[in-house]
C-alpha cells in the first residue's frame, strides 16, 4: 500500500496569507511540486500550514520542534481574525481531509479529520494514528526545515547537537532531559547535606557555650558561699525549706496572713517557687505594720515641711509689702494727708495761679497795644490823656508804659514757674496715691494668705493658734516630735527589713542553684539530641529529599537511555544510506564517506580507517550535503515507517553551488522512488537544475509581490 499523497492545501489567515487575500488553494497533481519565489514570498507558510494542520500549536513551541526560530512564532496572520488550513490527502482510492482553525467558525469544530466524506473525527491522536507519525519524526523524515540545515552549519557544539537531535527526531527527549536538569536537584541536595553535616558542629558549639555558662554560674555560686554539695535538687530544696520557714515566721510575728507557696519537687517547681516566694517577700515588705507606720510618718513629715515652706513664703511676702508701704508713707505722708494735699493743689492753688497768670497777661496786652499806638504817626500827635483830659507828654507815657511792661514780664515768669511746680506736684501726688492704694490691696491679700496658712498649720497640728502664738514655732516643735518618732520606727523597720533581705538573699542563692541545674540539664539534653524526635524528623526530611532525587535521577537516566538507544538505532539503520547519499552529493576525494558517531554524537567524515569531525574541515556546502544526507537517509529508512507518501524540502540548497545543486536534483530523482516531492526554493539556479534533472512530472507555482494586505500573488506555470 502506498502512503498518503498531498492533493490540495487551502489556507486563509495563516502566517503570510492574510484573510483579506481570500482562500489560497495549492493543488499537488504531479509527483513533484515546486514552490518558487524570493525569500519572504510565503513559500514556507504553505509548507508549515500542512505541519500545523496535522499537529496543531505544538509546531509553534520550541520544546516540541527544537527550532529556536519558533519562539514567539505566530500561527495567525496578524491582520486576520482566524487561521484556517484544510489539507486533502489521498491514499490509493481513500480521501482524507484534515481541517484546522484557531477558532470555532460557523459551528465547525476547530479541528477534525474525515475519511471518504464520512463523519468528523476530532481526536488529535486518532489522526496521528492514521498518518502513522508523530511530530518529531515528521520533522526528521518528512519535512526538512531550512532552520535544521542552518543549525547544522553552526559551529557551536550545543547547536550542532540540537540540530542532529532534530534531524534524528529526538528533540523532545533532549528537551525533557533539559527540563529535569533545570530543576537543579543536585544543588539543593548538596545544600541539604551541608546543612545536615553542620548539625554536629553546631552541637559542639552549643555544648561549649553551655560549658562556659556552667563555669561562670558555678564560680558565682562559690563567691556567694554555696558549697558543691548544695548544687543539686536536694541542696536547692533545703534552701527552699529554710526560706519557707522564715517567711511563715515573719508573717506570724506581724499578724499577717501566711503566704501560700508551691511545693518543690523538680527543677520546674523550683523556678515557680522562686517567683512565688519573691512576690511573697515583696508583699510582706509592703504590708508589715511598722513599715506602714513609717511610710505614714514620712508622708506627714513631708506634709509639715510643705506647710512650713508655704507659711514662710506668705509671711515674707506680707512683710515685704508692709515695708514698702512704710517707706512711701515716711517719704510722702499717709494716704489721707496725700489726698488732702492733692485736693488743695487741684482745687485751690493751681486754679488761683492760673487766674493770676491770665490777669497779668491781659494787662500786658493793654500795655503792648498802648505802646503800639504811641509808636504810630497818629500816636505822636496825642498830647491829651483820653481819660482825664489833662495835658500829657507822649514820651513820658511811653516810658511809663515800658516800665510797666517790664514789671508784667517778671510777674508772669514767676507765676508760670509756680504753675509748673504745682502741676509736677499734682502728678507726683497722684502716682504715690496710686502706689499706696495698690500696696494696700496686695497687703490685704497677703494677710489673708498668711491667715489661711496659719489655719492649715493649726489643722495639721490639730491645735488652736491664737494671734499671740507663732505658727512657725508650733510647726517646728511638731516636726521635731515627728523626727523622734520616725527614728524609733526606723529602727524597728530596719530590723524587719534585715529579716526580709535575708529571705531575698536566700532566694538569690536558690536561683543560682537553679541556673546551674538547668545548664546541667540542657547539656544532658544536648548530649542526647540525636535520640530526640526533632533530630529524627531532620534525618527523615533529608532522606525524603534524597529519595526524591534518586527517583528523579532514575527518570533522567531512563530518558537518557531511551534517547541514546533511539539515536544509536537510527544511526545504525541509516549509516550506509547516509554515507551513500553523501558520497554522491559531496563527491569528496579526501573524505568521501560520512557517519554519525553514536557515542560522541558528532558528524564524522571518513576515508577508510581515517576519520575527522566534519565541522573541522568540511565547507558549508559539504555540511549542507551532510544535513541533506542524514535527512534523506532517515526519510527513506525502512525502520522509520509511516503512512505519508510525500516529502517536503524547504530551501534545501542554501550554500550549495551549482554542481551540488545538479547532484542534489539527481539524488532526489532516484533516492525518493515514488514519493511525492514538494520543494520550495528561492534560488533560480537550483530551480533550473530541478526542472532539468528531475525526471518526475512537475507542477510549478510562482509566488511574488507579497503584500501585507493580500499576501503573495500566486501563479501556476
Amino acid at each position: 500500500m502506498n502512503g498518503y499523497q498531498l492533493v490540495k492545501v487551502e489556507l486563509k489567515g495563516f502566517r503570510g496569507f492574510p484573510e483579506q487575500g481570500g482562500t489560497q488553494e495549492f493543488k499537488f497533481d504531479e509527483p513533484c511540486t515546486l514552490l518558487l519565489g524570493k525569500q519572504g514570498s510565503g513559500k514556507s507558510s504553505v509548507l508549515c500550514a500542512v505541519e500545523w494542520c496535522f499537529f496543531g500549536d505544538r509546531v509553534a513551541r520550541i520544546g516540541d520542534t527544537g527550532i529556536r526560530e519558533r519562539k514567539d512564532w505566530l500561527v495567525r496572520n496578524n491582520r486576520s481574525r482566524a487561521s484556517i488550513v484544510e489539507v486533502t490527502l489521498k491514499r490509493d482510492e481513500q480521501v482524507l481531509i484534515v481541517y484546522r482553525c484557531n477558532r470555532r467558525l460557523q459551528g465547525r469544530p476547530r479541528f477534525y479529520y474525515q475519511t471518504d466524506g464520512g463523519e468528523f473525527h476530532e481526536d488529535e491522536s486518532g489522526l496521528r494514528a492514521v498518518l502513522g507519525i508523530e511530530l518529531p519524526d515528521y520533522m526528521s523524515c518528512v519535512h526538512l526545515h531550512q532552520e535544521v540545515i542552518s543549525a547544522l552549519l553552526v559551529e557551536t557544539p550545543g547547536e550542532r547537537k540540537n540540530a542532529l537531535d532534530r534531524l534524528m527526531g529526538l528533540a523532545p527527549l533532549r528537551n525533557l532531559l533539559d527540563g529535569i536538569h533545570g530543576s537543579r536537584i543536585s544543588e539543593q541536595l548538596r545544600d541539604i547535606d551541608n546543612q545536615f553535616g553542620g548539625i554536629e558542629t553546631q552541637l559542639e558549639a552549643g555544648m561549649q557555650v553551655k560549658r562556659s555558662d556552667l563555669e561562670r554560674a558555678t564560680k558565682d555560686a562559690g563567691e556567694h558561699g554555696i558549697v558543691q554539695d548544695e548544687l543539686s535538687l536536694g541542696g536547692g530544696k533545703k534552701h527552699i525549706g529554710a526560706i519557707k520557714d522564715q517567711i511563715q515566721k515573719f508573717a506570724g510575728d506581724y499578724g499577717l496572713p501566711a503566704p501560700d507557696l508551691p511545693e518543690c519537687k523538680d527543677l520546674e517547681d523550683m523556678e515557680s517557687f522562686i517567683d512565688a516566694a519573691t512576690a511573697a517577700v515583696r508583699k510582706l515588705r509592703n504590708e508589715q505594720p511598722d513599715m506602714a507606720h513609717q511610710q505614714h510618718m514620712l508622708r506627714r513629715k513631708k506634709e509639715l515641711g510643705t506647710l512650713k515652706v508655704n507659711y514662710e513664703g506668705k509671711k515674707e511676702t506680707l512683710q515685704d509689702l508692709r515695708t514698702k508701704t512704710e517707706k512711701l508713707t515716711n517719704s510722702y505722708g499717709d494716704l489721707p494727708e496725700l489726698k488732702d494735699r492733692l485736693k488743695k493743689v487741684e482745687k485751690g492753688l493751681l486754679p488761683e495761679a492760673r487766674n493770676r497768670q491770665n490777669e497779668i497777661s491781659n494787662r500786658a496786652g493793654v500795655i503792648r497795644e498802648a505802646l503800639k499806638l504811641l509808636g504810630s504817626p497818629q500816636g505822636k500827635s496825642i498830647n491829651r490823656c483820653p481819660v482825664c483830659e489833662q495835658t500829657i507828654s507822649p514820651e513820658d507815657v511811653r516810658r511809663h508804659l515800658e516800665k510797666w511792661q517790664e514789671e508784667m514780664k517778671d510777674k508772669l515768669a514767676s507765676t508760670e514757674a509756680e504753675i509748673k511746680k504745682l502741676e509736677e506736684e499734682e502728678t507726683n501726688l497722684k502716682k504715690v496715691i496710686s502706689q499706696l492704694r495698690q500696696l494696700q490691696s496686695q497687703t490685704q491679700i497677703a494677710a489673708k494668705d498668711v491667715s489661711e496658712s496659719t489655719k492649715a498649720i493649726a489643722d495639721a497640728l490639730k491645735v488652736e493658734i491664737s494671734e499671740s502664738q507663732d505658727p512657725l514655732t508650733l510647726l517646728s516643735k511638731g516636726m521635731a516630735d515627728l523626727e523622734d518618732e520616725l527614728e524609733k520606727v526606723g529602727k524597728v523597720v530596719e530590723q524587719s527589713n534585715a529579716r526580709l533581705n535575708s529571705m531575698e538573699d536566700g532566694l538569690a542563692d536558690v536561683r543560682r542553684i537553679n541556673t546551674i541545674l538547668r545548664i546541667q540539664r540542657d547539656m544532658e539534653e544536648l548530649s542526647k539530641i540525636k535520640e530526640t524526635n526533632e533530630y529524627e524528623q531532620v534525618a527523615k526530611a533529608r532522606k525524603s529529599a534524597h529519595d526524591f532525587a534518586d527517583l528523579s535521577e532514575s527518570i533522567y537516566e531512563a530518558v537518557q537511555t531511551v534517547l541514546q538507544r533511539n539515536a544509536k538505532s537510527r544511526i545504525a539503520s541509516t549509516r550506509d544510506a547516509i554515507s551513500s547519499i553523501f558520497r554522491e552529493l559531496a563527491q569528496r576525494s579526501d573524505f568521501p564517506d560520512l557517519r554519525i558517531d553514536p557515542v560522541s554524537y558528532e558528524v564524522i567524515a571518513v576515508r577508510g580507517d581515517k576519520s575527522e569531525i566534519a565541522q573541522r574541515f568540511l565547507n558549508k556546502g559539504d555540511i549542507n550535503c551532510a544535513a541533506l544526507s542524514i535527512f534523506l537517509a532517515l526519510a527513506t529508512s525502512k525502520d522509520l515507517s509511516h503512512n505519508l507518501g510525500f516529502m517536503i524540502l524547504d530551501d534545501p540548497s542554501q550554500t550549495l553551488d551549482s554542481t551540488h545543486n545538479e547532484r542534489l536534483a539527481g539524488v532526489l530523482d532516484h533516492v525518493l522512488g515514488n514519493r511525492q516531492l514538494i520543494i520550495a526554493t528561492s534560488e533560480e539556479n537550483f530551480a533550473k537544475e530541478l526542472r532539468n534533472s528531475l525526471t518526475k512530472k512537475k507542477q510549478v507555482y510562482f509566488m511574488r509581490d507579497w503584500s501585507d494586505d493580500t499576501g503573495p500573488k500566486v501563479e501556476i506555470e
Partner: protein, 75 residues
Amino acid sequence: MKEADDIVTEIKTRVPDSKHEEAIALWNQVLSAFNCQSSQGVTNVVGARLSKLRNAYDDAHQALMRKMGRGSSKQ
C-alpha cells in the same frame, strides 16, 4: 510521546519494586508537564516537588536548632 512506554520500562529497571508506583507517578507528572509546557513545565514540576521537600527539611532543621538552643536565654 511515543517513547513513553520504553521510558517506563527503563524506570522500572532502575528503581526497587517498592518504589515503582511512586516513580511512575512522578514520571506521569513530568510527562504531563512536558506535554503542556515543554521543558520549563518539567523544571517547574520537579522544582516545586523539590521545594516542598526542601521546606520540610528547613522546618525540621529549624525545630532542631531551637531545641539545641533551648535554655541559653534563661541564664
